[in-house]
Symmetry: C2
């Protein structure tokens, strides 16, 4: 690594290396030296772009959150809402092998957020945005007659978010869910919520 580069680019390069390292070795055994090596770069460089290790970790968490948020935001909003919701949540599930890594990283960071206020805020914000989006979608579905009117839409949104994260958690840590069965479980959940017959 001998070229000078755009600071923003460098930061994400290093962050990428961080994610790879965490995925491979686990957060606990991830050292600055490892990250630097993974990025093909010296420790000093990492230090230039991230004053402290915590700063790097926080940026890394932010980075993965942003990535999935952007995937979610890119989902086109075309009725029926039921299908939009499924598509949204499928962006969170690790359906592509490439996202498998991200999952372990995500779980590590979420755990870290138990004792890091800043990470906790990041996570909270992401979840809130998701729940807000789902709530809106559900309200739309109610207006369109797709969804029962006397549902507590916000509670439903929070429950769905929790369910999908639960699927992620179990996918990452047990053999209960592979990509296909995760997808199927999501479908089943949403179908049951919207009522099985209508709207397909």
């Amino acid at each position: 690594m001998t070229q000078h580069a755009d600071p923003e680019t460098r930061r994400t390069q290093v962050a990428e290396a961080l994610l790879a390292t965490v995925a491979e070795r686990g957060l606990a055994r991830t050292t600055l030296t490892d990250v630097a090596a993974a990025a093909g770069v010296s420790v000093g460089l990492v230090q230039r772009y991230f004053r402290t290790k915590d700063e790097l970790l926080r940026f890394g968490f932010d980075y993965v959150c942003r990535r999935t948020q952007e995937r979610v935001r890119r989902v086109p909003i075309v009725p029926p809402v039921r299908e939009v919701v499924v598509a949204l949540m499928e962006q969170i599930l690790p359906l592509e092998p490439e996202r498998e890594n991200e999952l372990g990283v995500w779980l590590s960071f979420v755990q870290a957020s138990l004792t890091d206020r800043e990470m906790a805020a990041t996570h909270q914000a992401g979840v809130t945005e998701l729940i807000d989006g789902l709530t809106e979608a559900f309200e739309g579905a109610q207006r369109a007659g797709e969804l029962d009117l006397d549902l507590d839409v916000r509670a439903e949104a929070a429950a769905l978010a929790a369910f999908v994260d639960g699927l992620c958690l179990h996918h990452a840590t047990t053999s209960s869910f592979d990509a296909a069965s995760s997808r199927a479980a999501l479908r089943a959940y949403v179908d049951r919520m919207f009522g099985r017959g209508e709207g397909r």
Copy 2:
């Protein structure tokens, strides 16, 4: 600490101190010295009972898993199945403030199990036992006419397990779920699964 004590007791005493420390400081910042201090004991004693730190951590994970398993096992099996299932899963949710701590600890350990084969096995075993139990219960419910016959009971069991763990995760890391709303969400899930009207 100057009394000699039953080895098994000592181990759980130390494990208890470990849990307290992890709950307070987070797994990453938990040191043997901390644990010893929390137990009111010397580092040497901790070492006598656990040859290595990993051994201590694994025992700690085992310990929390066993505790909730025992809570689950103690739930009486009296129909209707719907209520049994709710009662079972409520043993996992952090409904009592005392279990809040356990939750952070659990999450830390689950995360650690990403890179520790032994912990992974422990976790897998626990989840499997739970899913097996739920599957059986659901089959019973089908025979009793409480539950739709063409459900894939094992998939349902896995999904419910994931849902509850998702609730735990969100409870621990977001403000979406307190004790009451966790309980309500569980109830709603099970009711929807069993069909809302019958069997209450």
